[in-house]
Amino acid sequence: MDLAPAGTPAGGEIGRGWTVSRAAGAVRWLRRQRLAFLIAAGILLLHVGVALTGPVWAPYPPDELLVGDPFKSPSREHLFGTDNFGRDVFSRVVYGERTVLSLSLTAAGLAVVAGSALGLLMAYVRGWLDEVVMRGVDVVLTIPPLILSLLILGGVGASYPVIIATVAFFFAARVATVIRAAALDVVSEDFVTAARLRGESAASIARRELLPNVTSSMLVEFSLRTGYSVLFIAGLSFLGFGSAPPTPDWGLMINEGRSYISSSPWLVLGPSLALASLVVALSLFTDGISDALGLSPFRRAKA
Protein backbone atom coordinates (compact mmCIF):
# COMPACT_ATOMS: atom_id res chain seq x y z
CA MET A 1 0.00 0.00 0.00
CA ASP A 2 3.02 2.26 0.17
CA LEU A 3 4.04 4.65 -2.53
CA ALA A 4 7.34 4.53 -4.36
CA PRO A 5 10.01 5.05 -1.76
CA ALA A 6 11.81 8.31 -2.18
CA GLY A 7 14.64 7.29 0.07
CA THR A 8 16.93 5.42 -2.28
CA PRO A 9 20.01 7.58 -2.71
CA ALA A 10 20.76 8.67 -6.22
CA GLY A 11 23.54 6.67 -7.76
CA GLY A 12 24.24 4.53 -4.72
CA GLU A 13 23.74 0.89 -4.11
CA ILE A 14 21.37 -0.26 -1.46
CA GLY A 15 23.68 -1.11 1.39
CA ARG A 16 26.57 0.58 2.98
CA GLY A 17 29.35 -0.13 0.56
CA TRP A 18 31.57 2.67 -0.64
CA THR A 19 30.27 3.87 -3.92
CA VAL A 20 31.56 6.70 -6.01
CA SER A 21 28.84 9.02 -4.83
CA ARG A 22 29.71 8.28 -1.22
CA ALA A 23 33.35 9.10 -1.74
CA ALA A 24 32.45 12.28 -3.57
CA GLY A 25 30.15 13.16 -0.71
CA ALA A 26 32.99 12.70 1.74
CA VAL A 27 35.20 15.09 -0.16
CA ARG A 28 32.46 17.68 -0.36
CA TRP A 29 31.95 17.26 3.33
CA LEU A 30 35.60 17.72 4.09
CA ARG A 31 35.58 21.05 2.39
CA ARG A 32 32.69 22.24 4.47
CA GLN A 33 34.20 20.99 7.68
CA ARG A 34 34.37 22.71 10.98
CA LEU A 35 37.18 25.09 11.62
CA ALA A 36 38.27 23.18 14.71
CA PHE A 37 38.88 20.03 12.72
CA LEU A 38 40.94 21.81 10.12
CA ILE A 39 43.05 23.54 12.73
CA ALA A 40 43.57 20.20 14.44
CA ALA A 41 44.67 18.62 11.20
CA GLY A 42 47.04 21.51 10.65
CA ILE A 43 48.59 21.14 14.06
CA LEU A 44 49.03 17.43 13.48
CA LEU A 45 50.79 18.06 10.22
CA LEU A 46 53.03 20.48 12.04
CA HIS A 47 53.95 17.83 14.58
CA VAL A 48 54.61 15.26 11.93
CA GLY A 49 56.69 17.77 10.04
CA VAL A 50 58.75 18.50 13.11
CA ALA A 51 59.28 14.82 13.69
CA LEU A 52 60.42 14.22 10.15
CA THR A 53 62.57 17.26 9.63
CA GLY A 54 63.51 18.35 13.13
CA PRO A 55 67.13 17.24 13.22
CA VAL A 56 67.79 19.29 10.12
CA TRP A 57 66.89 22.66 11.51
CA ALA A 58 66.95 22.28 15.29
CA PRO A 59 69.26 25.00 16.64
CA TYR A 60 71.31 22.73 18.89
CA PRO A 61 71.99 19.03 19.32
CA PRO A 62 69.75 17.60 22.00
CA ASP A 63 72.38 16.27 24.29
CA GLU A 64 75.15 18.74 23.93
CA LEU A 65 75.91 20.14 27.29
CA LEU A 66 76.45 23.75 28.10
CA VAL A 67 75.42 25.33 24.85
CA GLY A 68 74.36 28.14 27.11
CA ASP A 69 74.41 28.85 30.77
CA PRO A 70 72.22 26.47 32.75
CA PHE A 71 68.74 27.64 33.68
CA LYS A 72 68.58 30.48 31.23
CA SER A 73 65.03 31.71 30.74
CA PRO A 74 63.50 31.60 27.28
CA SER A 75 65.21 33.97 24.90
CA ARG A 76 65.74 34.39 21.19
CA GLU A 77 68.66 32.01 21.25
CA HIS A 78 66.95 29.47 23.41
CA LEU A 79 63.23 29.52 22.72
CA PHE A 80 62.42 27.33 25.69
CA GLY A 81 65.45 28.23 27.73
CA THR A 82 68.14 25.85 28.94
CA ASP A 83 67.99 23.08 31.48
CA ASN A 84 70.15 22.16 34.41
CA PHE A 85 72.83 20.75 32.14
CA GLY A 86 72.82 23.76 29.91
CA ARG A 87 71.08 21.91 27.11
CA ASP A 88 68.71 23.76 24.85
CA VAL A 89 65.20 22.77 25.82
CA PHE A 90 63.62 23.69 22.50
CA SER A 91 65.92 21.42 20.55
CA ARG A 92 65.26 18.63 23.00
CA VAL A 93 61.53 19.10 22.53
CA VAL A 94 61.97 18.97 18.77
CA TYR A 95 63.99 15.79 18.94
CA GLY A 96 61.55 14.39 21.44
CA GLU A 97 58.83 14.66 18.83
CA ARG A 98 60.34 11.75 16.92
CA THR A 99 60.43 9.56 19.98
CA VAL A 100 56.85 10.31 20.95
CA LEU A 101 55.37 9.91 17.51
CA SER A 102 57.27 6.82 16.49
CA LEU A 103 56.46 5.00 19.72
CA SER A 104 52.80 6.01 19.78
CA LEU A 105 52.10 5.37 16.13
CA THR A 106 53.77 1.99 16.29
CA ALA A 107 51.94 0.96 19.41
CA ALA A 108 48.61 2.16 18.05
CA GLY A 109 49.22 0.53 14.69
CA LEU A 110 50.11 -2.76 16.27
CA ALA A 111 47.09 -2.56 18.54
CA VAL A 112 44.74 -1.89 15.66
CA VAL A 113 46.16 -4.61 13.44
CA ALA A 114 46.19 -7.26 16.15
CA GLY A 115 42.92 -6.17 17.68
CA SER A 116 41.12 -6.00 14.35
CA ALA A 117 42.39 -9.40 13.32
CA LEU A 118 41.17 -10.89 16.56
CA GLY A 119 37.86 -9.05 16.45
CA LEU A 120 37.15 -10.05 12.87
CA LEU A 121 38.11 -13.61 13.53
CA MET A 122 35.81 -13.84 16.49
CA ALA A 123 32.96 -12.23 14.57
CA TYR A 124 33.49 -14.84 11.90
CA VAL A 125 33.76 -17.94 14.08
CA ARG A 126 31.15 -17.11 16.69
CA GLY A 127 30.13 -19.97 18.91
CA TRP A 128 31.94 -21.10 22.00
CA LEU A 129 35.39 -20.03 20.84
CA ASP A 130 34.14 -16.49 20.47
CA GLU A 131 32.64 -16.62 23.97
CA VAL A 132 35.79 -17.89 25.58
CA VAL A 133 38.14 -15.53 23.82
CA MET A 134 35.96 -12.50 24.46
CA ARG A 135 35.78 -13.42 28.12
CA GLY A 136 39.53 -13.42 28.12
CA VAL A 137 39.52 -10.03 26.49
CA ASP A 138 37.11 -8.80 29.16
CA VAL A 139 39.56 -9.91 31.82
CA VAL A 140 42.34 -7.98 30.15
CA LEU A 141 40.11 -4.94 30.04
CA THR A 142 39.45 -5.26 33.74
CA ILE A 143 43.08 -4.93 34.65
CA PRO A 144 44.28 -1.41 35.34
CA PRO A 145 46.74 -1.00 32.47
CA LEU A 146 49.20 1.20 34.26
CA ILE A 147 49.63 -1.23 37.12
CA LEU A 148 50.38 -4.23 34.99
CA SER A 149 52.55 -2.23 32.62
CA LEU A 150 54.68 -1.02 35.49
CA LEU A 151 55.08 -4.57 36.69
CA ILE A 152 56.17 -5.82 33.31
CA LEU A 153 58.45 -2.91 32.56
CA GLY A 154 59.93 -3.03 36.01
CA GLY A 155 60.62 -6.69 35.60
CA VAL A 156 61.80 -6.97 32.07
CA GLY A 157 63.28 -3.52 31.73
CA ALA A 158 61.85 -0.55 29.91
CA SER A 159 63.12 -1.07 26.39
CA TYR A 160 61.18 0.35 23.46
CA PRO A 161 59.98 -2.98 22.06
CA VAL A 162 58.63 -3.98 25.45
CA ILE A 163 56.88 -0.66 25.91
CA ILE A 164 55.29 -0.88 22.50
CA ALA A 165 54.27 -4.48 23.05
CA THR A 166 52.72 -3.79 26.44
CA VAL A 167 50.78 -0.74 25.32
CA ALA A 168 49.66 -2.51 22.16
CA PHE A 169 48.52 -5.48 24.21
CA PHE A 170 46.12 -3.45 26.29
CA PHE A 171 44.82 -1.36 23.46
CA ALA A 172 44.39 -4.36 21.19
CA ALA A 173 41.88 -5.75 23.66
CA ARG A 174 39.72 -2.67 23.36
CA VAL A 175 40.12 -2.52 19.59
CA ALA A 176 39.08 -6.17 19.34
CA THR A 177 35.76 -5.48 21.06
CA VAL A 178 35.07 -2.45 18.92
CA ILE A 179 35.91 -4.08 15.61
CA ARG A 180 34.08 -7.26 16.49
CA ALA A 181 30.98 -5.20 17.29
CA ALA A 182 31.28 -3.31 14.03
CA ALA A 183 31.66 -6.52 12.06
CA LEU A 184 28.71 -8.14 13.78
CA ASP A 185 26.69 -5.05 13.08
CA VAL A 186 27.21 -5.48 9.37
CA VAL A 187 26.84 -9.22 9.27
CA SER A 188 23.45 -9.13 10.87
CA GLU A 189 22.05 -6.62 8.40
CA ASP A 190 19.40 -7.75 6.02
CA PHE A 191 21.32 -6.75 2.97
CA VAL A 192 24.01 -9.27 3.77
CA THR A 193 21.37 -11.94 3.95
CA ALA A 194 20.03 -10.63 0.70
CA ALA A 195 23.48 -10.80 -0.82
CA ARG A 196 23.84 -14.37 0.32
CA LEU A 197 20.52 -15.25 -1.19
CA ARG A 198 21.67 -13.72 -4.43
CA GLY A 199 24.39 -16.31 -4.34
CA GLU A 200 27.33 -14.10 -3.54
CA SER A 201 30.30 -15.79 -1.97
CA ALA A 202 31.53 -15.03 1.49
CA ALA A 203 34.64 -13.42 0.09
CA SER A 204 32.68 -11.05 -2.09
CA ILE A 205 30.42 -10.11 0.79
CA ALA A 206 33.45 -9.56 2.93
CA ARG A 207 35.00 -7.31 0.37
CA ARG A 208 32.03 -5.23 -0.63
CA GLU A 209 30.03 -4.93 2.56
CA LEU A 210 32.11 -5.89 5.54
CA LEU A 211 35.41 -4.28 4.76
CA PRO A 212 34.28 -0.71 4.14
CA ASN A 213 32.41 -0.53 7.41
CA VAL A 214 35.11 -2.14 9.41
CA THR A 215 37.74 0.02 7.78
CA SER A 216 36.03 3.16 9.03
CA SER A 217 36.04 1.85 12.55
CA MET A 218 39.65 0.81 12.20
CA LEU A 219 40.69 4.23 11.05
CA VAL A 220 38.91 5.94 13.90
CA GLU A 221 40.34 3.48 16.40
CA PHE A 222 43.82 4.08 15.06
CA SER A 223 43.50 7.79 15.55
CA LEU A 224 41.97 7.34 18.98
CA ARG A 225 44.58 4.85 20.16
CA THR A 226 47.40 7.05 18.97
CA GLY A 227 46.14 9.79 21.24
CA TYR A 228 45.87 7.44 24.19
CA SER A 229 49.29 6.00 23.43
CA VAL A 230 50.87 9.41 23.55
CA LEU A 231 49.36 10.03 26.96
CA PHE A 232 50.13 6.61 28.31
CA ILE A 233 53.71 6.45 27.12
CA ALA A 234 54.38 9.97 28.32
CA GLY A 235 53.06 8.86 31.68
CA LEU A 236 55.37 5.86 31.71
CA SER A 237 58.35 8.04 30.88
CA PHE A 238 57.36 10.49 33.56
CA LEU A 239 57.36 7.72 36.13
CA GLY A 240 60.75 6.58 34.95
CA PHE A 241 59.59 3.49 33.14
CA GLY A 242 59.95 4.84 29.66
CA SER A 243 62.87 6.28 27.85
CA ALA A 244 66.10 6.43 29.75
CA PRO A 245 68.10 9.59 30.24
CA PRO A 246 69.59 11.38 28.37
CA THR A 247 67.01 10.60 25.68
CA PRO A 248 64.97 13.68 24.80
CA ASP A 249 61.56 12.29 25.75
CA TRP A 250 58.84 14.72 26.80
CA GLY A 251 57.56 12.72 29.75
CA LEU A 252 61.08 12.21 30.97
CA MET A 253 61.91 15.86 30.49
CA ILE A 254 58.91 16.87 32.54
CA ASN A 255 59.98 14.58 35.32
CA GLU A 256 63.54 15.82 35.23
CA GLY A 257 62.37 19.39 35.22
CA ARG A 258 59.95 19.20 38.07
CA SER A 259 62.50 19.59 40.77
CA TYR A 260 63.21 23.02 39.39
CA ILE A 261 59.66 24.01 38.80
CA SER A 262 59.67 26.94 41.15
CA SER A 263 62.78 28.52 39.74
CA SER A 264 62.71 27.47 36.12
CA PRO A 265 59.20 26.47 35.14
CA TRP A 266 59.96 26.46 31.42
CA LEU A 267 61.70 23.13 31.82
CA VAL A 268 58.29 21.66 32.46
CA LEU A 269 56.20 24.03 30.38
CA GLY A 270 58.05 23.51 27.11
CA PRO A 271 57.49 19.79 26.75
CA SER A 272 54.04 20.13 28.37
CA LEU A 273 52.96 22.53 25.67
CA ALA A 274 54.17 20.18 22.96
CA LEU A 275 52.43 17.24 24.58
CA ALA A 276 49.16 19.05 25.15
CA SER A 277 48.98 20.45 21.63
CA LEU A 278 49.61 17.03 20.12
CA VAL A 279 46.98 15.29 22.19
CA VAL A 280 44.32 17.98 21.75
CA ALA A 281 44.93 17.99 18.02
CA LEU A 282 44.65 14.20 17.87
CA SER A 283 41.48 14.34 19.92
CA LEU A 284 39.76 16.86 17.67
CA PHE A 285 41.03 15.05 14.61
CA THR A 286 39.55 11.78 15.84
CA ASP A 287 36.21 13.46 16.44
CA GLY A 288 36.32 14.91 12.97
CA ILE A 289 37.04 11.74 11.10
CA SER A 290 34.62 9.66 13.09
CA ASP A 291 31.98 12.26 12.26
CA ALA A 292 32.95 12.16 8.60
CA LEU A 293 32.79 8.40 8.47
CA GLY A 294 29.41 8.40 10.10
CA LEU A 295 30.47 6.85 13.35
CA SER A 296 29.42 8.07 16.75
CA PRO A 297 31.81 10.70 18.04
CA PHE A 298 31.22 9.74 21.64
CA ARG A 299 34.38 9.07 23.46
CA ARG A 300 34.74 5.76 25.21
CA ALA A 301 36.19 5.41 28.66
CA LYS A 302 39.94 5.09 28.71
CA ALA A 303 41.66 1.67 28.82
Binding site: A36, D138, V139, T142, I143, P144, P145, L146, I147, L148, L150, L151, I152, G154, G155, V156, G157, G227, L231, A234, G235, F238, L239, G240, G251, I254, N255, R258, I261, S262, P265, V268, S272, L275, A276, V279, V280, S283, L284, F298, R299, A301, K302, A303
Partner: protein, 319 residues
Protein backbone atom coordinates in the same frame (compact mmCIF):
# COMPACT_ATOMS: atom_id res chain seq x y z
CA UNK B 1 15.12 -9.56 46.59
CA UNK B 2 15.08 -11.65 43.51
CA UNK B 3 16.76 -8.86 41.65
CA UNK B 4 19.89 -9.42 43.68
CA UNK B 5 20.03 -13.10 42.95
CA UNK B 6 19.28 -12.83 39.26
CA UNK B 7 21.39 -9.85 38.41
CA UNK B 8 24.02 -9.39 41.05
CA UNK B 9 25.17 -12.87 41.95
CA UNK B 10 26.17 -13.96 38.45
CA UNK B 11 28.08 -10.73 38.01
CA UNK B 12 29.71 -11.16 41.39
CA UNK B 13 30.79 -14.61 40.39
CA UNK B 14 32.20 -13.26 37.17
CA UNK B 15 34.06 -10.57 39.05
CA UNK B 16 35.62 -13.06 41.41
CA UNK B 17 36.66 -15.16 38.47
CA UNK B 18 38.18 -12.13 36.84
CA UNK B 19 39.99 -11.24 40.01
CA UNK B 20 41.42 -14.71 40.14
CA UNK B 21 42.63 -14.40 36.58
CA UNK B 22 44.09 -11.00 37.36
CA UNK B 23 45.92 -12.34 40.37
CA UNK B 24 47.41 -14.95 38.11
CA UNK B 25 48.59 -12.27 35.71
CA UNK B 26 50.10 -10.27 38.52
CA UNK B 27 51.92 -13.25 39.86
CA UNK B 28 53.17 -14.13 36.43
CA UNK B 29 54.35 -10.58 35.79
CA UNK B 30 56.21 -10.47 39.07
CA UNK B 31 57.85 -13.75 38.22
CA UNK B 32 59.40 -11.96 35.30
CA UNK B 33 61.47 -9.86 37.62
CA UNK B 34 65.05 -10.61 36.74
CA UNK B 35 67.67 -12.31 38.72
CA UNK B 36 67.46 -14.63 41.60
CA UNK B 37 65.36 -12.98 44.26
CA UNK B 38 67.26 -14.34 47.17
CA UNK B 39 70.63 -13.26 45.87
CA UNK B 40 69.28 -9.84 45.10
CA UNK B 41 67.77 -9.34 48.50
CA UNK B 42 70.81 -10.45 50.42
CA UNK B 43 73.05 -8.37 48.23
CA UNK B 44 76.54 -8.28 49.62
CA UNK B 45 75.78 -10.76 52.30
CA UNK B 46 74.84 -13.41 49.79
CA UNK B 47 76.77 -16.44 50.91
CA UNK B 48 75.59 -19.73 49.41
CA UNK B 49 74.14 -20.97 52.69
CA UNK B 50 72.23 -17.79 53.40
CA UNK B 51 70.94 -17.74 49.86
CA UNK B 52 69.74 -21.30 50.27
CA UNK B 53 68.10 -20.47 53.58
CA UNK B 54 66.30 -17.49 52.15
CA UNK B 55 65.19 -19.45 49.15
CA UNK B 56 63.59 -22.00 51.40
CA UNK B 57 62.02 -19.31 53.48
CA UNK B 58 60.52 -17.66 50.45
CA UNK B 59 59.46 -20.99 48.97
CA UNK B 60 61.58 -20.27 45.92
CA UNK B 61 62.54 -23.89 45.54
CA UNK B 62 58.97 -24.92 44.96
CA UNK B 63 57.37 -24.82 41.58
CA UNK B 64 55.59 -21.73 40.35
CA UNK B 65 52.03 -23.06 40.62
CA UNK B 66 52.70 -24.12 44.18
CA UNK B 67 54.03 -20.74 45.07
CA UNK B 68 51.02 -19.11 43.50
CA UNK B 69 48.74 -21.29 45.55
CA UNK B 70 50.59 -20.56 48.75
CA UNK B 71 50.61 -16.87 48.09
CA UNK B 72 46.94 -16.67 47.20
CA UNK B 73 45.87 -18.75 50.16
CA UNK B 74 47.94 -16.64 52.48
CA UNK B 75 46.66 -13.42 51.01
CA UNK B 76 43.04 -14.33 51.41
CA UNK B 77 43.63 -15.16 55.03
CA UNK B 78 45.31 -11.88 55.70
CA UNK B 79 48.89 -13.05 55.64
CA UNK B 80 50.58 -10.92 53.07
CA UNK B 81 54.09 -11.95 53.82
CA UNK B 82 57.02 -9.81 54.76
CA UNK B 83 58.62 -6.94 52.95
CA UNK B 84 61.95 -8.08 51.57
CA UNK B 85 63.50 -4.74 52.30
CA UNK B 86 62.16 -3.61 55.63
CA UNK B 87 61.37 -7.04 57.02
CA UNK B 88 58.11 -5.70 58.38
CA UNK B 89 54.84 -7.45 57.63
CA UNK B 90 53.45 -6.22 54.38
CA UNK B 91 50.18 -5.34 56.07
CA UNK B 92 51.96 -2.86 58.31
CA UNK B 93 53.61 -1.26 55.32
CA UNK B 94 50.66 -1.18 53.01
CA UNK B 95 47.63 -0.41 55.14
CA UNK B 96 48.57 3.08 56.33
CA UNK B 97 49.32 3.98 52.73
CA UNK B 98 46.03 2.53 51.65
CA UNK B 99 44.30 4.74 54.17
CA UNK B 100 45.90 7.85 52.73
CA UNK B 101 45.05 6.86 49.21
CA UNK B 102 41.45 6.23 50.15
CA UNK B 103 41.27 9.68 51.69
CA UNK B 104 42.58 11.16 48.49
CA UNK B 105 40.18 9.13 46.40
CA UNK B 106 37.33 10.15 48.64
CA UNK B 107 37.99 13.85 48.25
CA UNK B 108 38.40 13.37 44.52
CA UNK B 109 34.97 11.78 44.30
CA UNK B 110 33.39 14.54 46.33
CA UNK B 111 34.66 16.99 43.76
CA UNK B 112 34.22 14.84 40.67
CA UNK B 113 30.67 13.58 40.94
CA UNK B 114 28.81 16.86 41.38
CA UNK B 115 31.14 18.69 39.03
CA UNK B 116 30.74 16.26 36.17
CA UNK B 117 26.97 16.11 36.61
CA UNK B 118 26.60 19.88 36.64
CA UNK B 119 28.90 20.44 33.71
CA UNK B 120 27.44 17.60 31.69
CA UNK B 121 23.87 18.69 32.24
CA UNK B 122 24.77 22.31 31.74
CA UNK B 123 26.52 21.66 28.46
CA UNK B 124 23.61 19.60 27.21
CA UNK B 125 20.98 22.15 28.11
CA UNK B 126 23.01 25.07 26.78
CA UNK B 127 24.06 23.37 23.59
CA UNK B 128 22.34 25.93 21.43
CA UNK B 129 23.85 28.94 23.13
CA UNK B 130 26.95 30.77 22.02
CA UNK B 131 29.01 29.91 25.05
CA UNK B 132 28.75 26.21 24.28
CA UNK B 133 31.66 25.79 21.85
CA UNK B 134 33.98 27.59 24.25
CA UNK B 135 32.98 25.39 27.18
CA UNK B 136 33.28 22.33 25.02
CA UNK B 137 36.78 23.34 24.07
CA UNK B 138 37.72 23.66 27.73
CA UNK B 139 36.39 20.19 28.41
CA UNK B 140 38.21 18.73 25.44
CA UNK B 141 41.40 20.32 26.72
CA UNK B 142 40.70 18.59 30.01
CA UNK B 143 40.70 15.22 28.34
CA UNK B 144 43.92 15.96 26.54
CA UNK B 145 46.14 17.00 29.38
CA UNK B 146 47.83 14.16 31.18
CA UNK B 147 47.42 14.12 34.95
CA UNK B 148 51.02 14.90 35.65
CA UNK B 149 50.91 18.00 33.51
CA UNK B 150 47.73 19.17 35.20
CA UNK B 151 49.22 18.39 38.58
CA UNK B 152 52.42 20.25 37.85
CA UNK B 153 50.53 23.24 36.50
CA UNK B 154 48.35 23.37 39.59
CA UNK B 155 51.44 22.99 41.69
CA UNK B 156 53.06 25.86 39.87
CA UNK B 157 50.14 28.18 40.21
CA UNK B 158 48.78 27.35 43.62
CA UNK B 159 51.81 26.15 45.54
CA UNK B 160 54.60 28.21 44.05
CA UNK B 161 53.25 31.45 42.68
CA UNK B 162 50.33 31.74 45.08
CA UNK B 163 51.45 29.87 48.15
CA UNK B 164 47.99 28.76 49.08
CA UNK B 165 48.78 25.08 49.32
CA UNK B 166 51.84 23.14 50.37
CA UNK B 167 53.84 21.69 47.49
CA UNK B 168 54.49 18.50 49.36
CA UNK B 169 51.48 16.58 50.57
CA UNK B 170 52.62 15.71 54.05
CA UNK B 171 49.39 14.01 54.95
CA UNK B 172 50.70 12.11 57.91
CA UNK B 173 51.76 15.29 59.61
CA UNK B 174 48.39 16.91 59.32
CA UNK B 175 46.71 17.20 62.65
CA UNK B 176 43.50 19.06 62.10
CA UNK B 177 40.88 18.63 59.43
CA UNK B 178 41.63 21.90 57.65
CA UNK B 179 45.28 20.95 57.54
CA UNK B 180 44.37 17.59 56.13
CA UNK B 181 42.21 19.14 53.48
CA UNK B 182 44.96 21.51 52.57
CA UNK B 183 47.37 18.73 51.83
CA UNK B 184 44.77 16.73 49.94
CA UNK B 185 43.29 19.47 47.82
CA UNK B 186 45.74 19.87 44.98
CA UNK B 187 46.19 16.15 44.29
CA UNK B 188 42.44 15.61 44.53
CA UNK B 189 41.70 18.45 42.15
CA UNK B 190 44.28 17.09 39.74
CA UNK B 191 42.70 13.67 39.74
CA UNK B 192 39.24 15.11 39.47
CA UNK B 193 40.16 17.21 36.44
CA UNK B 194 41.62 14.19 34.73
CA UNK B 195 38.47 12.14 34.95
CA UNK B 196 35.77 14.78 34.98
CA UNK B 197 36.27 15.67 31.37
CA UNK B 198 35.32 12.22 30.11
CA UNK B 199 32.31 12.00 32.36
CA UNK B 200 31.16 15.43 31.25
CA UNK B 201 31.32 14.44 27.61
CA UNK B 202 29.39 11.26 28.25
CA UNK B 203 26.77 12.96 30.39
CA UNK B 204 26.33 15.63 27.78
CA UNK B 205 26.05 13.13 24.97
CA UNK B 206 23.61 11.02 26.89
CA UNK B 207 21.41 13.94 27.81
CA UNK B 208 21.49 15.44 24.34
CA UNK B 209 20.46 12.12 22.87
CA UNK B 210 17.57 11.93 25.31
CA UNK B 211 16.54 15.54 24.73
CA UNK B 212 16.21 14.80 21.05
CA UNK B 213 14.18 11.65 21.59
CA UNK B 214 10.57 11.16 20.61
CA UNK B 215 9.33 10.88 24.16
CA UNK B 216 10.83 14.17 25.23
CA UNK B 217 9.22 15.77 22.20
CA UNK B 218 5.97 14.13 23.20
CA UNK B 219 6.26 15.51 26.70
CA UNK B 220 6.88 18.97 25.30
CA UNK B 221 3.88 18.69 23.03
CA UNK B 222 1.77 17.70 25.99
CA UNK B 223 2.32 21.22 27.19
CA UNK B 224 4.50 20.34 30.16
CA UNK B 225 6.84 23.00 31.51
CA UNK B 226 10.46 22.78 30.46
CA UNK B 227 11.49 22.19 34.01
CA UNK B 228 9.23 19.21 34.29
CA UNK B 229 10.28 17.81 30.96
CA UNK B 230 13.95 17.97 31.87
CA UNK B 231 13.63 16.77 35.43
CA UNK B 232 11.03 14.06 35.06
CA UNK B 233 11.37 12.86 31.49
CA UNK B 234 14.87 13.61 30.31
CA UNK B 235 17.27 13.29 33.22
CA UNK B 236 16.13 9.96 34.63
CA UNK B 237 16.72 8.38 31.26
CA UNK B 238 20.00 10.14 30.66
CA UNK B 239 21.58 9.33 33.98
CA UNK B 240 21.61 5.61 33.39
CA UNK B 241 24.17 5.43 30.62
CA UNK B 242 26.09 8.33 32.08
CA UNK B 243 26.24 6.65 35.45
CA UNK B 244 27.93 3.65 34.02
CA UNK B 245 30.67 5.74 32.51
CA UNK B 246 30.93 7.81 35.66
CA UNK B 247 31.65 4.76 37.75
CA UNK B 248 34.05 3.38 35.19
CA UNK B 249 35.90 6.64 35.27
CA UNK B 250 36.33 6.21 38.97
CA UNK B 251 38.09 3.02 38.08
CA UNK B 252 40.35 5.09 35.92
CA UNK B 253 41.53 6.88 39.05
CA UNK B 254 43.47 3.75 39.83
CA UNK B 255 45.88 4.52 37.03
CA UNK B 256 45.94 8.23 37.64
CA UNK B 257 46.56 7.89 41.34
CA UNK B 258 50.01 6.51 40.85
CA UNK B 259 51.09 9.46 38.75
CA UNK B 260 49.46 12.07 40.94
CA UNK B 261 50.98 10.65 44.10
CA UNK B 262 54.39 10.85 42.48
CA UNK B 263 53.86 14.44 41.40
CA UNK B 264 52.85 15.59 44.86
CA UNK B 265 55.01 13.16 46.78
CA UNK B 266 51.88 11.89 48.40
CA UNK B 267 52.51 9.04 50.86
CA UNK B 268 49.96 6.73 49.39
CA UNK B 269 49.63 3.34 47.81
CA UNK B 270 50.59 4.52 44.36
CA UNK B 271 53.91 5.97 45.32
CA UNK B 272 54.67 2.93 47.42
CA UNK B 273 53.97 0.82 44.37
CA UNK B 274 56.48 2.68 42.25
CA UNK B 275 59.10 2.66 44.97
CA UNK B 276 58.63 -1.04 45.57
CA UNK B 277 59.02 -1.86 41.93
CA UNK B 278 62.23 0.05 41.81
CA UNK B 279 63.71 -1.91 44.69
CA UNK B 280 62.01 -5.10 43.59
CA UNK B 281 60.25 -5.75 46.87
CA UNK B 282 58.08 -8.55 45.51
CA UNK B 283 55.62 -9.26 48.32
CA UNK B 284 54.72 -5.59 48.60
CA UNK B 285 54.37 -5.26 44.84
CA UNK B 286 52.09 -8.23 44.64
CA UNK B 287 49.95 -7.06 47.51
CA UNK B 288 49.45 -3.54 46.16
CA UNK B 289 48.79 -4.77 42.63
CA UNK B 290 46.16 -7.14 43.89
CA UNK B 291 44.48 -4.49 46.04
CA UNK B 292 44.35 -2.00 43.21
CA UNK B 293 43.11 -4.59 40.76
CA UNK B 294 40.52 -5.69 43.28
CA UNK B 295 39.20 -2.17 43.67
CA UNK B 296 39.10 -1.80 39.89
CA UNK B 297 37.09 -5.00 39.49
CA UNK B 298 34.75 -4.00 42.30
CA UNK B 299 34.10 -0.66 40.68
CA UNK B 300 33.32 -2.31 37.37
CA UNK B 301 30.88 -4.56 39.17
CA UNK B 302 29.37 -1.54 40.89
CA UNK B 303 28.87 0.18 37.55
CA UNK B 304 27.00 -2.80 36.14
CA UNK B 305 24.81 -3.19 39.20
CA UNK B 306 23.98 0.49 39.46
CA UNK B 307 23.09 0.72 35.78
CA UNK B 308 20.84 -2.28 36.17
CA UNK B 309 19.15 -0.80 39.20
CA UNK B 310 18.37 2.44 37.41
CA UNK B 311 16.92 0.80 34.36
CA UNK B 312 13.42 -0.52 34.92
CA UNK B 313 13.80 -2.69 31.89
CA UNK B 314 16.64 -4.65 33.38
CA UNK B 315 14.94 -4.75 36.76
CA UNK B 316 11.88 -6.27 35.19
CA UNK B 317 13.97 -8.81 33.35
CA UNK B 318 15.24 -10.00 36.67
CA UNK B 319 11.76 -10.50 38.09
Amino acid sequence: MRYISRLVLPRLGLSLGTLLAVSLMIFWAVELLPGDTATRVLGREATPERVQDLREQLNLDRSAPERYGIWLAGFVQGDWGESLVSKRPVTDVVLPRLENTLLLAGLTLVIYVPLSLILGIGLALLRESRIAPFLSAVVVAGTALPEFVVGLLLLLVFAVWLPWFPPLALVDDAETLPQLLQTLTLPAVTLAVAITAYAVLMMQASLVSVLESDYVRMATLKGLSRRRVVLRHALPNALGPALRVTVLNIAFIIGGIVTVEVVFNFPGLGRLFIDSIRILDTPVIEAIALILAGIYVLLNLGADVATGALNPRLRAAAR
